[in-house]
Subunit: 263 residues, 2 copies
DNA sequence: TGTTCGTTTCTTGCATGCAATGACCTTCCC
DNA sequence: GGGAAGGTCATTGCATGCAAGAAACGAACA
């Protein structure tokens, strides 16, 4: 996921296969549980079995596929609880990034860059057109990428990559849906406020505050998720939606034997 | 890492290559930065290029190797700061596991199992023989594995696997060294206390307390690390030590431009 | 002596053939 | 009719050959 971003795009057959496969999976071309036969993919992707095999291994590590004990891969299925956990987990890791940035000290240059991004975001928050949402999405990712970089922790970057490789776990997950659902428009205002607070906390070296804010910030995606599942027509147009099975029960992961609060 | 544990051990050439390569890397058979030529590994491992290639990809995802933009892999190098971050990161994830377990409710069966493990650990804490340390190590891993399971979050399990795949980040990292360094013997006592507190917090649904305890618990490994680096002869016998470059500076990641506390 | 260009060797990326294992279907027996 | 056993088909695991590209070496020139 880091390699492919380094621009060579289609330089090797493997990346070509990975990119195309990801796209196909996100678009719902394969159903969860469906077996990914190598020969089928050979004629589908136009590359031979060797790069296909490598690409499948890559996607397994990303979490999109699941390897069968007998060999071969199937498309992985995600429950609503998985989505919730992915978002919560991103919050935990971004919280750690924010805390690291605060504890280890940020450069004035980094802080200025974050503020500049926020300034532009501010002008977009109250617009409603689709183009503004797209710009917001890009700026939001810029903000989060820089924040992660400011933690100065390669291992944290790795861990984050492992989580946001899931399509519905990225910082912009479910945001595009807001363009069509004014009900969640206020969330952008709150998100902007979170950004402001994050920069302030990092500058003042308030690690715990930065961590809390980043966690709460990620939970906005959760709020978005809940709004979106109420509008399945919107949900189904989002990438990766085909991988998610919606549960009707309100609590998607009930305690099997809830213990009462003794203290 | 989950697949291989599923017993087939050497059933495929790939797992054979992965296991052997991991062993070679941990033992320092390759130096950090050294190129892992496929043909060299073919005659070293006794398998053909195809499984070698797959194994290399696997180890890259584990974080032990780094892929070069031009192709091929080199052994990755870890700084003391990486080790510190890995431990801190494990603390963050185990904290999340503990919090999830507390928030989502634990079964009486799980709590009982944790307590039983702790009871046995209690009898080992004050012994000093090597065998007791090995038993402690196994029980400690049992405790942490169960805790993780109690979070009921497959994605959290994945994230954790991504972190503890590094040899020095596991729950038992640097513990074996204590068998030879009585200076750090007290740490076992503290660790035991943490375990007790964790079970209590989870039972009482005190999520935040559980999270804090788990984080602090992981930081014991950090204390161990600091003790161990003072005794390089011990450090160098630990697996994976050959991958770590020791920095002499006390603060391994200094702030480039520390901001004063304005508030 | 330092630098640059050309050549050679090594290394990886890819395709394909072969073999073995697992899945599935048919058939036969109870 | 149900279950078990046999056989057939499909799919994956592995090895190897070939070609393109990179790296290293050496030679020639400034």
């Amino acid at each position: 996921m880091a390699i492919e971003l380094a621009r060579p795009a289609h330089r090797t057959q493997i990346t070509k296969a990975v990119l195309r496969l990801r796209e196909l999976i996100f678009n719902g071309h394969f159903s969860p549980g469906e077996r990914m036969a190598e020969l089928l993919l050979v004629e589908l992707l136009g590359v031979s079995r060797t790069p296909v095999r490598l690409a499948l291994a890559e996607l397994e590590h990303e979490g999109l596929l699941r390897g069968l004990p007998t060999g071969g891969y199937v498309v992985r299925e995600f429950t609503q609880g998985d989505v919730r956990d992915a978002i919560e987990l991103r919050g935990v890791l971004e919280g750690t990034a924010a805390r690291f940035a605060a504890e280890r000290g940020a450069t004035a240059r980094d802080l200025t860059a974050l503020r500049a991004t926020n300034e532009t975001i501010k002008t977009l928050v109250h617009r409603g057109d689709y183009e503004s949402f797209e710009r917001y999405l890009r700026l939001n990712e810029t903000f989060h990428a820089r924040l992660l970089k400011m933690a100065r922790s390669p291992l944290l970057v790795r861990a984050m990559e492992g989580v946001v490789s899931l399509p519905f776990a990225g910082p912009g997950a479910f945001v595009l849906a807001e363009a069509e659902l004014p009900a969640s428009r206020d969330i952008l205002v709150i998100a902007y406020r979170h950004h402001i607070g994050l920069v302030e906390a990092i500058e003042r070296r308030q690690g715990e505050r930065a961590e809390s804010l980043a966690r709460e910030h990620a939970r906005l995606a959760l709020a978005n998720l809940e709004i979106v599942v109420e509008h399945r027509d919107v949900l189904e147009r989002l990438p990766g939606a085909a991988l998610i099975t919606l549960t009707d029960e309100p609590d998607p992961d009930p305690a099997p034997e809830p213990q009462p609060e003794p203290a």
